[in-house]
Symmetry: none
Subunit: 292 residues, 4 copies
């Protein structure tokens, strides 16, 4: 193959090799009835989006705490990295959607008292809106979620709650939620009951959710159970302060027999780590989008 | 698929040949009430500025004495160098703004008698105008200043007077202002009083300003004090006639415990030196724009 | 002269083709009084060993269970990998010593009953013999240990028992010994007493040894305590059957505040993984041999 | 030229391109009458030393405090770096001599009381011995001195005391001796008189020595005065604790009109910095050995 390509005239290769640019919009918004406000988002459209008539797979890419929907654009270099990965052929052209979860509330979750329903907003309003607005293949096999820190927690809970919606999930330097019920603290002023606390723990502790996956789903060869499984790519630096939860998730998944990729690279909880992770995430979800 | 692409990396040297271009405009202007005249400026817009909908960080890039806002464009090769750095991924896409301070007056300062207020113009009129005209992230974390010679002095004073506005400052072959009060000379015809002279010295001597930074700001871990700190990149050739001021600033900053980068490369006070400095400046400010 | 040479760098890709070779001997042996038999070993001598008159740092490289001193030579490609790393400058010339621990007994440990003393042999006979036979810098700062699986356990215990002898230790896909006393099983026929079992557990459980390191040694800035610390590089594949012990060592070291590098790459318990690990090990121990 | 070489048959280039190895001996010694003991040293002989019959220029390369003559061999990678520089043509083949000044006394100086005369040993015994033992061109034009930290001080004082002996001097991260007489402290038990202290200060303060160089030597065009000048390459990291002395030497030399190269790179007082400096040192002294 090498020889065949090497002997092609210089110009014939050119169309393949010209680096092309996708487009990023970082100041979009949509109204939410559930949250009673407008919510912002950013989107990356692949280089050929405007010239083609085809539809694309979608990656939801979630930001961390204290940041917003522009984080992956500005600090994460999503355009440069996606353009390059698509140009080099390690990633297939895809649409990348970055919602704003900078609300001062509990990240990507519904609150324990049910007075703030971000997760409901995401699945009932945001995802439908986005997948209607852009030419997105609205199907589990072409949908993935990834995110960092608080957005890593979002990736875990979205994919664990809705394995029928996501082919792959890539939590990076992820918060993994409370390890034990005792770790879960609410301010007295919030007025959360014990029942609500218990329900919140069950719903948002990643370790508890993993422990609750029925073995028959994991081992099953029935096609309908395949829809309940997600491909996992978990990555957390050896010097990250969230190292422990991710190491314990790795152990828990191994012990349950849940297939997953786990990486520990040299690094801390910062954008140097996440920019280096993004090309691997794009390559990993492309394996799903390509259906192997 | 993998095998088909396996032979590509070798060929991927070519895309560098068709790196995308930003745009430079070098004959823009705006009216100034403070200076009672129009002031010119030049701007560099990154390659994806027109096709994306996103906002960008900004670098103010200041020219030297006897030059004007076109210096970095013509002699500094700002477009070529920024395009290349962005294409290679060592710099994030940013807007570069080059104001004209070629006034025959005292560079980027307000005059001692207060009859010429360039610094006021910059902060009260120019910066607001530019940041309204272009899609600029108007926030300390996305704003930097750099400049050469007289513009190095401008970088020092702008960032020392307004650390809350700049994440990073990069004085190149910088004038550092008067070392001592005696060094500061005004022509008798200017009619500058002793009080005005003293105030001018305090305001524009870089060494004096560094000496005046309170230790508690430098050592503080309080978030509000972080806003008073700037990341510094100081670079001056070993054969530059301005070597001494820069070496003394290095010593003063070390002795005060002010973190900074200092470089002395082989060279004199010329554009060969500054063109070689610019890629490092773009990479250095990108570290801020990326939040590490 | 400059001009003549200016065209060379492009051509300088070629010297890699004629990188110089070290030498491997894989059938050496020495008599052991402690073990009452001859023990074999292999050695790698760097390319310049025979032509120079200098002395070298030493890396002890330990094989896994069921293998012997020829494993790193045949399967691990130690010569090819070390020659290349030294040629490229990522590793400093060093002597690599591979002892044979293929005894059908308990790896690199002394047995619980004290009737088989491999660890004693290593420190009292093997290391002195080797360091007298070759031009080795016999000093902690120039000595490191690495190994895979059972040899990873060997790396842990040698460096934990003798931090004064090793600058760095690199356990790869390491066995970490018994997690709990209950996990430690001896065959009834061995006749191991409870006291012997307890002593063996304390001596060879990596997690227990880490828990026993005094905090004052870890945090101390006293020079004599620095001699009690070792630089760690721990690497284990996400699909390795020994993943859990290594993840728990990572957590235990983080919680104790013991500095260490931890890597989890894609892979299982095989030579593909270890050959990919070896260049990183050589680079990591070179950092010690270079004193930063 | 490029084209001419590019079209040469592959094999014809080979003799030029095969990387060759020099030889290092790090355990040599010679008797000293002055110091009343044997003193060790290491030597690097260039790749063609044994096959040629020619003589070579010499670089004396001095270690820092707490280290010995093996430092540049083990930590400084002198063989790898010199082989590569010679192979690439950036350095001419030269002999590199590394004396051991690890004496627990005052580095490369004669002591204030005159009871320890290292500097005398170097010039009266060591240099003559080495230049008789190896095929060295014993002439100022082919002799240079470089060193780090305490060995940087050695480079300064050897070249300032004997400009007639050295073409070039390269102090790296250099100690520059006492800035003022007050900084110079002797233990009371040493019994140093005020006169001895004054003489020691005059002899070993780099700033004082520079201040004492007569202007007529610096500006002179007389051939005999050229023999009193040395080419200087001074390099010290911006985060090195010895930054100040080097910055002040730069200022002092500029103010006196003494030509010199000065570099400040990113770095601290460690071998990472010095290994990066060594190729530049070899290139710099080669300019002398080539006589431009």
């Amino acid at each position: 193959m090498k020889k065949t390509l090497a002997s092609l005239p210089f110009l014939l290769l050119f169309p393949l090799l010209v680096a092309q640019s996708g487009k990023v919009f970082d100041n979009l918004s949509m109204p939410s009835k559930i949250l009673k406000m407008d919510r912002k988002y950013a989107v990356y459209l692949p280089p050929d989006y405007e010239t083609s008539g085809r539809s694309y797979p979608v990656l939801y890419l979630l930001h961390g705490g204290g940041d917003d929907h522009t984080g992956w654009v500005q600090f994460g270099e999503v355009q440069h990295i996606a353009d390059r990965a698509i140009g080099e052929g390690t990633a297939t052209p895809m649409i990348i959607v970055m919602p704003d979860a900078n609300t001062g509330r509990r990240g990507y979750t519904n609150s324990a008292k049910g007075d703030w329903l971000y997760e409901d907003f995401f699945f009932q309003e945001f995802m439908p809106h986005v997948e209607k607005t852009y030419r997105i293949k609205a199907d589990k096999h072409y949908r993935a979620v990834a995110g960092l820190s608080m957005g890593g927690h979002g990736s875990f809970i979205f994919a664990l709650h809705h394995p029928e919606l996501f082919a792959a999930a890539c939590p990076l330097s992820a918060a993994t939620g409370p390890k034990t019920r005792d770790e879960l603290r609410f301010d007295a002023s919030e007025g959360v009951t014990e029942t609500q606390k218990e329900a919140y723990f069950k719903k948002y502790s990643v370790l508890d959710m993993i422990a609750s996956i029925p073995d028959e789903v994991i081992k099953s060869t029935k096609p309908e159970d395949r829809a309940k499984r997600v491909r996992w790519y978990i990555d957390c630096g050896d010097d990250d302060f969230l190292y422990e939860g991710n190491a314990l998730v790795h152990i828990a998944m191994r012990q349950k027999g849940i297939a997953h990729e786990y990486r520990v690279r040299d690094g801390i909880h910062n954008w140097v780590y996440w920019r280096a992770a993004l090309p691997r995430v794009l390559e990993f979800v492309t394996m799903d989008f390509h259906q192997f």
